[in-house]
């Protein structure tokens, strides 16, 4: 599903990713763990296609296609989804209008017909209840005045609505208390499927108690320095990043 080879990427001319190699197959959930400044968010933005995050070397292939050749919206239409660490507040656009616009933009890009407002509302309602996204939230301006938990739940609602092939979750656990974390993790787990790959980016092991990964990669200094099974997360928690980085050196 996702093949990253010797990826180098720069932000404002500064190289952040320095030869990252990673492969995620369909049906797999991989965790990327790393200390602050290791390049976690840069990786998620590079994959989603944010302007200013420039690939300077190596390659990223998604379903065999060169991801760098696609704009951010084209990637989304082809099934790449990034659940953001800091979902953006957009005053003046209601959440429901946003969901309808995004869903239909993706459908149009794939040559599918638009879904009307009633149809979108029906789809959203079917998915919103289990994530405790209320009708009232759908009527409010997108993310404006939402709590941290509400924002993250809305990200996962989008993920379930867009049904991506590759979902990247960037620090989805940040700012969540334990109840909110369980709710969000439950939403993510419900979306695990043999056709879908997930990349869970996190600083803390805590999230991985609830979203159990198939593989864990440790990112440091812009490269993967250690890989292992789900037990690697526990080792990291016990030893701390400094020790793992030192061991790997």
């Amino acid at each position: 599903m996702l093949e990253i080879k010797d990826l180098h990427a720069a932000v404002d001319g500064k190289e952040i990713l320095k030869g990252l190699t990673l492969s995620v197959g369909a049906g797999e959930v991989h965790a990327i763990m790393g200390p602050n400044g290791s390049g976690k968010s840069t990786l998620s933005y590079v994959l989603a296609g944010r302007a200013g995050y420039e690939i300077t070397g190596g390659s990223v292939r998604y379903k065999g296609e060169d991801l760098a050749a696609l704009s951010a919206d084209q990637r989304a239409a082809k099934g790449v989804f990034l659940a953001m660490q800091y979902p953006v507040e957009i005053p003046g656009v209601t959440t429901l209008t946003f969901l309808k616009t995004a869903l239909n933009a993706q459908r149009r890009a794939r040559g599918e017909a638009d879904i009307d407002a009633v149809g979108v509302l029906r789809l959203v309602r079917a998915k919103a209840a289990s994530l405790r996204v209320s009708e009232e939230m759908l009527k409010r301006a997108l993310n404006v005045g939402f709590s941290g938990g509400e924002k993250k739940r809305l990200e996962i609602l989008q993920m379930s609505l867009f049904e991506p092939s590759l979902a990247i979750l960037d620090e989805t656990d940040s700012g969540l208390d334990i109840d909110a974390l369980k709710l969000v993790a439950g939403g993510v787990n419900a979306l695990r499927s043999p056709e879908r790959a997930m990349l869970v980016i996190t600083h803390y092991q805590r999230l991985l108690d609830y979203i159990v990964p198939d593989r864990v990669h440790v990112l440091s200094g812009g490269r993967i320095i250690k890989e292992g099974g789900k037990e690697l997360a526990l080792e990291l928690e016990a030893k701390g990043y400094a020790q793992i980085v030192k061991d790997a050196a």
Partner: protein, 339 residues
């Protein structure tokens, strides 16, 4: 008086009329023509009698009043007159007077679609507890148009106005509003979507007596070589204690060649007055654009969505659904050209 205002005058700094139009052409411009349509019989429509304007007005209005030989006169003596459509059919110097008497109400729908030059002066007199809703839509045209409104509001009277201006070679809208009776209020809003065009809204609201209220909300989107201007002066007169005024003007600049000048001003000579003003100019937010793109929304669509959201609260000041829909339609069309 044939001299035209120019950019060395503080009030005309951003709208150089002398440079935009030939002074001789202005001097010899004919009397403008209007059509007036009313669905209801409650409004008396006639030719302008000789009325000496008493409301404050600007220099160009002075010229319009002097040169216009005729013009419509609307009077609502009582009750709700419903909507009256005032349409400028031929350019030139124009003058109109609208009188809404005690307790009466009127929706004035004003459109402009004529001539290369228009200089119009409209006087609105709003009586005790009377209400006027005024919606003006000026489509984009390669023309010079000056419109001056002298509005007087008596005790308990309400003036609500919305100006949708898509600009021209030079477009100047002046509002001189006098809140003359206790409880009188004026609520002004407007949007300008400019693709290389010029639009200037200059307001002067005077709170002459205590307990008067005014709100203003103007939004500008400027692309290409466009120039959007808002100059808003609020004066609270001596003794007009307890007056309440809010002024907001915001601009969205698309590209380096566009310019938006926002100049809110307050002059307070009374006590216990609540006055707030704010102005801000910015670009479309890159975080928002990326967020929308990452959800599959193509850039042009994302930009249009953000621009609509930016203009939304100003357009939504129009309470009437039909009139609001008309303005949205004009806004959508103008945005298409910009994205």
């Amino acid at each position: 008086m044939n001299a035209l205002p120019h950019r060395k005058l503080e009030d005309w700094k951003y709208s150089d009329l002398r440079n935009a139009v030939d002074a001789d052409a202005v001097a010899s411009a004919p009397t403008a023509a209007w059509s007036v349509a009313s669905a209801d019989g409650a409004v008396e429509i006639g030719d302008l009698p000789t009325i000496t304007p008493r409301g404050p007005h600007g220099a160009m209005a002075e010229m319009a009043i002097a040169k216009a030989k005729a013009g419509p006169y609307l009077r609502v003596a009582k009750g709700d007159a419903g909507a009256v459509h005032l349409h400028l059919t031929e350019g030139g110097h124009g003058r109109a007077v609208v009188l809404v008497e005690e307790g009466a109400s009127l929706t004035l729908q004003e459109t402009v679609l004529a001539g290369e030059f228009a200089n119009i002066a409209i006087e609105l007199v709003i009586g005790r507890n009377a209400q006027v809703t005024h919606i003006r839509t000026a489509p984009h045209r390669d023309a010079v148009q000056v419109a001056d409104y002298a509005v007087r509001v008596a005790e308990g009277g309400v003036y609500r106005a919305h100006f949708a201006d898509f600009g021209g070679k030079l477009s100047r809208t002046e509002l001189h509003i006098a809140l003359e009776g206790a409880g009188a209020s004026a609520h002004l809003s407007g949007v300008s979507v400019l693709d290389g065009a010029h639009a200037d809204v200059t307001t002067h609201v005077t709170h002459a007596v205590p307990g008067t209220q005014s709100t203003q909300l103007f939004k500008y989107v400027a692309g290409g070589h466009a120039r959007g201007v808002y100059q808003g002066r609020v004066s609270v007169a001596v003794g007009a204690d307890g007056s309440d005024s809010r002024q907001t003007a915001k601009g969205l600049l698309l590209g380096d060649r566009a310019e938006i000048d926002l100049k809110p001003e307050l002059e307070i000579l009374a006590d216990d007055v609540k006055c707030a003003h704010g102005a801000a100019v910015g670009d479309l937010d890159t975080d928002s654009l990326f967020y929308l793109a990452s959800r599959g929304i193509p850039e042009s669509e994302a930009r249009a969505l953000l621009m609509r959201a930016f203009l939304g609260d100003a357009v939504d000041q129009i309470a009437d659904e039909g009139l609001r829909g008309n303005v949205w339609q004009a806004v959508e069309k103008a945005l298409e050209g910009l994205t």
